[in-house]
Subunit: 323 residues, 5 copies
C-alpha cells in the first residue's frame, strides 16, 4: 500500500507526485524522490523495482521479508533492513521490519508487519531544510534514528520486567515456579531483541568508518550518533542477559533454601508427634509391675510430661528458626 | 555413479556429452563442462582426476569424505566441501556431503550419502542464461545457494522441537526425565548442524571479500547473498543454543520445585497419620485412673477428635498449597 | 549552575572572566578558557553552545544525559563523557556524569547528578604551570585522571563486600538466604561499575595510540597512564566478576551440604524416637504368655534397654558426625 | 639413541652415513641429511648441536622437554615441537614429544617418551621421490602429517567414551557416581588433548600463510592440508567439550530426578506401614465401651481393613508412578 | 635499601661504584650501570630519578607500587613491572613486585615486598660475557627470565593442590564442605596468579614482535623465549581454571549423590523400625477374639516374625545398595 510519494529539491518539498512520475524525477539531478510503502504486495514491489532499477537480489530479500538487520551495497544503491520492535498489550514483543532502498536521488521505504508510523520522520526532515539538503543520505539517517529510538522503550520495559521478577524472588511474593517461568520468558524476549539490534550495530559501522557509501558522505557525525545509540542498547541488553543468567542461578539457590526450610519445618513437627507417641507407647506396655500405672496422678502426669516436652522441643525448634 | 555430464557455452547447453569427451570440451575457451556424480567409486574419481587434472590432495579429501565444510584454492581451481542436511522420519539428522571442483571451464560435483537431488539447480541455471553466461562461477553459486536453502527447514524443525519441549516442561505434560533426554538430544543435533554450517560461513567470505578467486569475479553480490543466508542460519543456531542452555538450567529448577512439592505433600500426609496414631497411643496407655476410658462416649469422642483434627490439618495444608 | 570560569595563558591563570567575555578570549591564540558548570539547565547549555560553537549532536547528548562513557571527535573538538561513581551511606552506588567539551582553546565541563567536586583539579593545574602550558589537553588529562582515581575506592569497597560475604558463607555466620541476596546485589553493582568503566577504557585508546586528536598531541605518556589505571580497574572488575560467579555456585553447594546435614540430623533423632517406640510396642502386645511381663524387673529392664539402645545409637550418630 | 642417519639428494637416498660425516654432507648444496634420535641423552644432543650448528635456546628447549607444541624460527632454521598422543591399555593418554630441527639441508628429529615409530614416514618419503625433491621441507611435512594423523584415533576413542557414558546415563545401567567420575576423567583427557593440538593449529599457520620460512616455500597446499586436518581435530574437541559440559549438567538433573523418585518410593512405603499402625493403635485403646472389640469377627475385619486399605494405597501409588 | 651498584663495559664488570658516581658512568658510551634496590624509600627513589633522569609518571608508579605487570616506553627508557610470586609455608601466595628501569646504559631494579633474591642473575650475567656485551637489554632479559622461571613452581603447586582435592572428592576421604572450601580457595589463588602473568604475556610481545625498543634490538630470540615460557604458564593456568570450574560442578553432583545415598539409608532403617512396630501394634489390639494371643508360642512366633521380616527387608535393602 502506497503511503506517501514526494519529490524534494534543495531541502524543500517540491510536490507529492504520482507513482508513474517517479522515474522522471529520479532522472533530474539535485532532486530526490521519497516513497513510503506499507506491507507492499508483489506487484507493487515489481513496479518499484522497475521505476528505480533496483537489484534483483535485494528485491527478493524484501519480498521474502524476515531478514536479519543488515546494510548492503549494490553498486551505488544501499539496501538497509531494520527490525521494528513494539511491546503489545500482553507484554509480548512484536517484530516488524522496514526495508529501505537508498540511491543518490531516491529513498524507498517498505514497512511490514508493524503499526509504527514514520510520518513524523517526514515532518522532522521537512522542518530541517538545512539538513535535508544532504539529500537521500539524510532521510536514511532520520529513518534509522527514528527506528533506533523506538528500541529504548522496549529495553526499558524488559529491565522493569526483570526488576519485578527480582522483587518477587526475594520477597517470596511470587512462587518459585512463576519466577522461573518469568525468567525464562524474559530470556526469550531478550534473545529476540538481541537478534534485532546486534547485527544492526555491526553493520552500521560501514556508514561512517573508513570508506563510506556515496550517499552518506559528509554525514559522519550523524551516523556515528546512531551507532552510539545502538551500542548503548546492545550493551544494556548484554548487561541484562548477564544479570538474568545470574538470576536464574540465584533462583535455583533460593528454591534449595526454601526446600531446606520446609524439610526442617516438617521434621520438627514430626518430632512433636513422635515424642508423645513414644511416651504413650511406654505406658501402654503390659508389665505387671509398673508402679506409675497405679498412681492416682499417673495419667495426668504422663499427659503433662508429654505436653511439657513438646513445649520444650517447640521452643528449641523456634529458636533454631525451624518452625 | 555418473548422474549428468553436459557442456555449456554462452549460457546455453551445448549437449550431453560422454565422459570420454570431457577433456576435449575443457580445452575449448568460452565453453564449460558440468559433471555430477553420486557416491563415486575410487575408479570414477581417478578418471575425473585425469580428465580435469585435479590436485592430488583435493582428490584424496574427496575420496576419504567426512571433511569439514571448506573452500580451498589449488592454483586456479576451487575445491568446495559442503554438508547436506536432512531430517529423516525419526527426526534424526542425516549428514551427506557434496564436494565441488570448480575450474575456469568445468564444474564437477560429487554427492555422497544423501538423497538430496540437484537436478533443479541445473534446471534453474538453464532457465537463466543471462546469469549462466558467468560460467562455472555461477553454477557454483547456484549449487551453494541450493545447499544453504536446504538448511533452513532443518533449523526450523529444531526450533519447533525446542518449543515442544518447552511446552512439556512448563505444563508438566511430559516427565522431567523425558524433558532432559529431549533437551540433550536436541543439543546433540544442534552441535551437528553447527559444525556443518559455521565453518562454511567462515570460508565463504573469501568468495566475495578482498581478493576473489578468478571464477567468482563479478559475482560479488551473489556470493554475499549466500553469506548473508548462512549468517542468518548461524545466528539462529547460536540463539537456539543459548536458549537451550538456559532451558537445561531452568529444567533443573523445575525438577527441584516439583521435588519440593512432593516432599511437602508426603510430609503433610504423614502428619495426617501421625496425629491419630498419637491420640490412639494416649488412650492405649494402661493407667488405672483414666476417667475417659470409663465414659460411654469416650471411644466415639476419641475417634471424632482424631477425625476432627485431621480435617483441621488437612484444611491448613490445603490452604498452604501442600496437598 | 556556573561554578567557575577563567582564562589561562602560558600556564598561568589570567583572570576569572564573566560568561559574556568567553567568546572574546576563545579568539585569542595562546590563551584558553576553562568553564565548569554543575547540573546545567537547557538555557545555560544553549548559551555555551553559542559561545563555543559546539556541535548540535554533542550538545543534545549533554542535554539528555545518561550517556555511555565515550570520547567523540567533532572536527577539532573533543566531546568526552565519563561516569562519576560514589558509594553512598547505604553502600549503594550513585552514578553521576561529567561531560567535557575540549577545543584548542577551551575546556567546558558539565557535571550532573554528583557531589564530587573538581576544584582540586583546578588547584593542581595551577600549581603545575610547566604542564598547564600544554593547554586544554592537559586540563582534560587532569580531569580524566581525577575521575578515574575516584573509581578505585569504589572497586575496593566492592572487593571488601565480597570478602565479607565469603567470610559469612564459610563460617555460617550469616544465613544462606542473606548470602545469596548479598551476592546478587553485589553482582548488580559490579554490572553498574563495569558499564561505567569498560567503555571508557575502549575509547581512551584513541587519545594516545595511532593518530591522536590535535589537543592531545605531545601528551602521549599522560593519556597512556590513564589508560593503564583504567585497565587495572577493568581487570579488577573482571576478576571480581569471575570470583563472584564461582561464589554463587559454591554457595549453592554449601546450601546442599547444609541441607544434607540437617536431613541427617533429623533422621538420626527420628531413629532415637523410633527405637523405644518399637520396644514399647512389643511389650504392649497382649499375648497371654509373655514371661517378661511377669518379672518384677521387667519394666525397669525394658526402660533401661530403651535408654541403653538410644545411648548406643546416639554415640554412633555422633561418631558419624550426624548429630 | 640414534635410530637412523641418512643423506638424500634429488629425492633419492644417497647412503646411510655415520654420525661424524653429518657436517660434511650438510655442506653440500642440493643434498640434505635426515637424522632420527630417540630419547636422546645430553651428550648426543650436544654433538648434534655442534654438527648442525643449532641455536642454544632451541637445544635447551629440546633438552628440557615438556614444551608446548610450537614452531619457532631461528634465522633459517625451523624448530618444531609436537606432542605424540597414544591411548594405552587402560584408556589413559600417554603424551610423548617429537622435536624437529629443520634447516635448508638437514632434518633432525628427536622423539621422547613415546613408542610411536616414524620409520613408515621415511618409507613414504623414499617411495615419493618427486616430492622428496622439495628437500627438508617435504620431510617436515611428512613428519607433521604422520603426527597429526595419529591424533584422529585418540579423538575417536574419546568420542566413543562419551557415547558409552551417555548410554549409561540414560539407561541407568551405571551408577550416577560412576557416570560423574567418568565424565570428569573424560574432561581431564580432553584438556590434555586440547593442549597438545590447539597450540599446534595456531602455529602451523605460519608455514603457509603470508611470509613463509624458506624451507617451506612451494609447499603451500601441503601445509594447508595439515592445517585443515588439525582444524578438524580442534573443532571436534571443542564440540566434545561442549557436549561434555552439557552432559555434566544433565547428569546433575538426572541425579535430582532419581533422588526425587526414591523419595517418593520411600514415602509411599512409609504410608503403607503408617496406615495399619494407625488402625492398630485405634483398636489398642483401652476404652471400656468399644463394641467392635466384642465382635467375633472384629479382629479379622480389622486385619482385613488394614490389608484392604494398603492395597488401595498401593494401587494409587502404583498408578502415580511412585512405586 | 641499596643492594648492589656496579658498572659494566664490554660484557665485563668494571667496578662496584658508589651511588654518587652513577651519573658519571651513565655518560660514558659503551658502559652501563646496574643498580639494585630493595624496598626503596621515597628519598632513595628521588635520588635515582635524578641520577638517571627518569620520567615522573614511571617513578610515581614505582613509588605507589601494586601496579599491574606492564612494559612501558618513555622515550628511550623502558619501564617494566613484574610480579614476584612465592608460596609461603601455609600454601598461600605472596605477591611481591619488581620494577625495572632500563635505558641505553643503565638498569635500575627495585624489588618490593619479596624475599626472592636476584643475586644469581648477576652471577649468571657475569659468567656469560659474550651475552652481557648486548648491554642493558641482556640484563633485562636475564631478570625477566629469572622472574618467569619462578612462576613454574607456583603453578605446579596449584596443580598438585587440585589433584589432592580431586583425590579427596572421589575417595570421600575429605568432607564435601572441605572440598568446596578448598576448591574456592584454589580458585582465588588461580585468579591471583592469572592477574600476575596474563598481562605480562600481553605486554612482552612488544619486546620482540614488530618495532622493538632500542635496548632490545638483536635479542629477538631471547625475548621470544620468555614469551614462550609465559605462554606455557598462562595456558596451564587456563587449563587449571577450566578443570577447576568443572570440579566445582562435579562436586555439587557428588554432594547430591551422597545426599541421596543417605536419604536411602535412613529411609531403609526407618522401615526396619516401622515393620516390627506395625506388627506389635496389631497384637496390641484389644479384640476379645484374637486366637494367636492364646497360643503358647504366640509371643515367640510374633517376635520371630518381626526379626524374620526385618532380616528379609535388610537383605533387600542391602542388595539394592541402600544400606
Amino acid at each position: 500500500m502506497l503511503i506517501n510519494c514526494a519529490a524534494y529539491q534543495e531541502g524543500q518539498k517540491l510536490a507529492d507526485i504520482p507513482q508513474e512520475a517517479i522515474s522522471d524525477y529520479v532522472q533530474r539531478p539535485d532532486c530526490f524522490v521519497w516513497v513510503a510503502l506499507k506491507d507492499p504486495e508483489a506487484g507493487e514491489l515489481e513496479e518499484m523495482r522497475e521505476e528505480f532499477g533496483l537489484h534483483e537480489l535485494a528485491v527478493e530479500d524484501a519480498r521474502n521479508g524476515h531478514q536479519r538487520p543488515k546494510i548492503e551495497e549494490y553498486g551505488d544503491m544501499l539496501f538497509v533492513v531494520m527490525h521494528l520492535l513494539e511491546m503489545d498489550a500482553n507484554e509480548q514483543i512484536r517484530i516488524g521490519e522496514i526495508d529501505v532502498f537508498v540511491g543518490a536521488n531516491y529513498v524507498l521505504s517498505l514497512r511490514s508487519r508493524s503499526n509504527i508510523s514514520f510520518l513524523n520522520v517526514r515532518d522532522r526532515c521537512e522542518r530541517e531544510p538545512h539538513l535535508l539538503k544532504f539529500g537521500s543520505g539524510f532521510v536514511l539517517y532520520a529513518l534509522m534514528d527514528a527506528v533506533v529510538d523506538r528500541y529504548f522503550p522496549v529495553i526499558n520495559a524488559l529491565e522493569q520486567e526483570l526488576e519485578q521478577i527480582e522483587d518477587g524472588m526475594f520477597t517470596k511474593e511470587s512462587s518459585a515456579r512463576d519466577n522461573i517461568e518469568a525468567l525464562y520468558a524474559l530470556k526469550r524476549k531478550l534473545t529476540v531483541v538481541q537478534h534485532s539490534t546486534t547485527p544492526l550495530l555491526e553493520t552500521v559501522h560501514k556508514l561512517f568508518g573508513g570508506r563510506v557509501p556515496q550517499v552518506c558522505v559528509g554525514m559522519h557525525e550523524y551516523y556515528r550518533d546512531i551507532y552510539d545509540h545502538l551500542e548503548r542498547i546492545v550493551k544494556q541488553i548484554e548487561a541484562l542477559r548477564d544479570v538474568l543468567n545470574t538470576a536464574i542461578q540465584v533462583n535455583l539457590s533460593l528454591i534449595s533454601i526454601d526446600d531446606s526450610a520446609i524439610t526442617k519445618k516438617f521434621a520438627a513437627y514430626g518430632a512433636l508427634f513422635a515424642m508423645p507417641t513414644m511416651i504413650a507407647g511406654v505406658y501402654g506396655m503390659n508389665f505387671d509391675m509398673m508402679p506409675e500405672l497405679k498412681w492416682a496422678y499417673g495419667y495426668p502426669l504422663a499427659l503433662a510430661s508429654m505436653v511439657a516436652m513438646d513445649i520444650l522441643l517447640w521452643r528449641r525448634f523456634r529458636k533454631a528458626g525451624w518452625i
